[in-house]
Symmetry: C2
Subunit: 416 residues, 2 copies
């Protein structure tokens, strides 16, 4: 195993990405512990992050490294009875660590198509067991009990998927540069750029909050959808103050302005505008119909069985937990790449998410228990899966509490 970074990846920008992850993404505090999860292929970034975390005064940094090949071996050689198991002991421990103050950083990467050829029933069972076992840890993240963030590393397998016609080194270079641009580390004022970007996103969220829309209405090819918003919903963008008082940027990159839809008030039909890469399966051309907030019918040109298994995870899996607005002019959209990765593709287009809502997307959400969140229309589920419904052909109107229409987006751009 080489411990050197690929020459296709600019080491200066990689170092800046690690610094932005620690300083802006996590805003890691002196003495704070950090749990860092990544694929072994991302080791060059992991090592830089660990270095910056300790320089920032981290207590103990614990990397949790995964390996695609051993994950695949389970499907190739594992006996059938083993697919309902998950490492609950580890996820419970992580939840415990967050309660004791540890921050959390995930490095996205790995091969998005890893499980594409495996038995979808086994994939769904393993994912469901994982999602259930991960619930205590996931709840602490979605509820921002601690400061957390996600950044991405240009894994060679991911790069080959994004640029299938290029030799591997060139593909890695293209993906690396796209990640660096989207993550705003291309020039040497990265931490300052992030401060300006957070301020602009904050202004958008404040305007939407001031409108207090009852619903959003989407029209476009294959789409005529009304999404009611939750009672007391709050628009969020950029930096978020976690319950431990630390302001973090949970997604690097981030372009979205998002809130909680009402789980019972979604009506109409919507067509996805990008494929959804879900745990190794690519789901293409998703089209669904909603009635009373629930998906009543779902089709896809590929991956339809995986999609329907996802929707059957639990009661909340066919309802919405997030609605997010992203201008088509976002730097990620302008890169022209399909990343096959939600962290990037969701920041190229307006999107919605199946499953769990964020309690932070309510005014005074930190004071609400799960019953109150449910009464206000907040959805609950073991899953949270974003999928893209925005493009330069989508118009969005806000519908005020008194029934008036206010243009929000036109042809994928902010209307004001």
């Amino acid at each position: 195993m080489s411990t050197k970074t690929s020459p296709a990846i600019d080491p200066v920008k990689l170092d800046r990405l690690a610094e932005v992850a620690v300083r802006t993404g996590l805003n890691l505090q002196e003495g704070q512990d950090l749990i860092l999860s990544a694929s072994v292929t991302a080791l060059p970034l992991v090592r830089k992050i660990v270095e910056h975390a300790y320089k920032a005064g981290a207590g103990l940094v614990t990397p949790i490294l995964s390996d695609d090949q051993t994950a695949l071996a389970r499907y190739r050689y594992g006996h059938d009875a083993g697919f309902d198991r998950a490492a609950g002991w580890m996820f419970d421990g992580m939840a415990q660590a967050y309660d004791k103050g540890a921050a959390r950083l995930a490095v996205a990467g790995g091969d998005p198509m890893l499980l594409a050829n495996e038995d979808p029933d086994k994939v769904a069972r393993a994912n469901k067991a994982m999602a259930l076992a991960y619930t205590p840890a996931r709840e602490r993240i979605t509820q921002f009990k601690t400061n957390w963030s996600i950044v991405a590393y240009p894994d060679p397998a991911w790069a080959r998927l994004v640029s299938p016609d290029l030799p591997e080194d060139e593909a890695v270079h293209v993906l690396a540069e796209a990640i660096f641009a989207a993550s705003r580390v291309s020039d040497d004022s990265a931490v300052a750029s992030w401060a300006a970007h957070n301020a602009e996103l904050g202004r958008r969220a404040a305007w939407l909050d001031g409108q207090n829309f009852a619903a959003l209405h989407y029209t476009g090819p294959g789409t005529d959808l009304t999404i009611g918003l939750a009672d007391g919903h709050k628009w969020i963008a950029g930096a978020t103050e976690a319950q431990n008082g630390i302001s973090c940027n949970p997604n690097i990159p981030t372009e979205e302005v998002f809130t909680t839809p009402h789980k019972l008030r979604v009506e109409g039909r919507v067509a996805a505008t990008k494929p959804l890469s879900h745990q190794g399966t690519l789901i293409r051309d998703i089209a669904v119909e909603f009635k009373d907030g629930a998906i009543t019918q779902a089709t896809a040109s590929s991956g339809e069985s995986v999609l329907n298994k996802v929707l059957d995870t639990d009661e909340g899996a066919r309802r919405l937990g997030e609605v997010a607005l992203v201008p088509h002019a976002s730097p990620i959209s302008q890169s022209g790449l399909l990343f096959y990765n939600t962290l990037f593709d969701e920041n190229a287009a307006s999107h919605i998410a199946l499953g769990q809502c964020y309690s932070t997307c309510f005014h005074r959400g930190e004071t609400m228990d799960s019953d109150e969140i449910a009464r206000r229309g907040g959805n609950a589920s073991a899953i949270h899966i974003d999928w893209m419904i925005g493009s330069d052909q989508i118009d969005i109107d806000g519908i005020t509490q008194s029934g008036e229409r206010v243009p929000v987006m036109r042809k994928g751009a902010w209307a004001n």
Copy 2:
């Protein structure tokens, strides 16, 4: 990162080592989960082990991968206040997983000299915090609550230490072949070889048990040492039946026949016959004196401060928890290599261990609580560190309960 095995490592023997680890080392059962810890440099072996584990019917295999460079970053960049921390949440979770039936495999490897140039005070503080946090998990292992094993992988940094005058590829080849020979996987009847070896070790242990010696007396250069044996001590070798009823080989390789000394009945002086590699520091030429079971004075030609910090870990750290007999003719001794790794070097020479005893080294030990073990002379500590005192110049007599002398070893060879 290359995902291919180094050409210096025979892939057929590597595959056999993985199979012996799963079938003989762990004796992994259908449906049993496995926690597998290793350095990322050992990924080629980890992947083979995961494959064999799933083929043997493993439920879920969870690899825990560590990285030397991130471990080092803590010492290079970490603030002083962080060195008393440990990932207790992970070790507690492992203990929980063992209680629920998971087996445990550790792959030894990594750079033995990693921390050699770091501040010994920080190394000692970090090790102590780790040892304390790891106590619940370690107790389940030392008490054989579950089946467990250790195997080794020829890490390049380790190989360079063993063969400093060879180019890296040749050094890796030499170490790989030595590991394969010591682990008895050089020919294609590896699992059968292990059955025969276990039977031979079992005969030695049965003879020693029949003698029920009160003490062993060692003489040789720098050594005149009497080690009293614990009341009700039991000699163990090769395979061990864990408390879950599964017979496992906890060390691959293993040549030793060992039992529990009496923590209060060790007298005299002893000189180590090989350097001790402890958490990255090489301690050379250890010489100690015992009185009433405790080390009253300890010297070393290098690493003496680390040695004395180890002895100060807790009350039990200066007393013995294990005494082990290994003939100088063992295959590992005959390799002529100094491995700088206890798993190998302890199987090249008779040795003793500071710290925690094994409750399995008592007749009916599984029925005893820690008070009864202590009354019988069993030692307790957060550490268990083996060091080598055997050579072809050491004679050992057994002293019977009635005070007679019985030759056990002469010039490092079994006397009968």
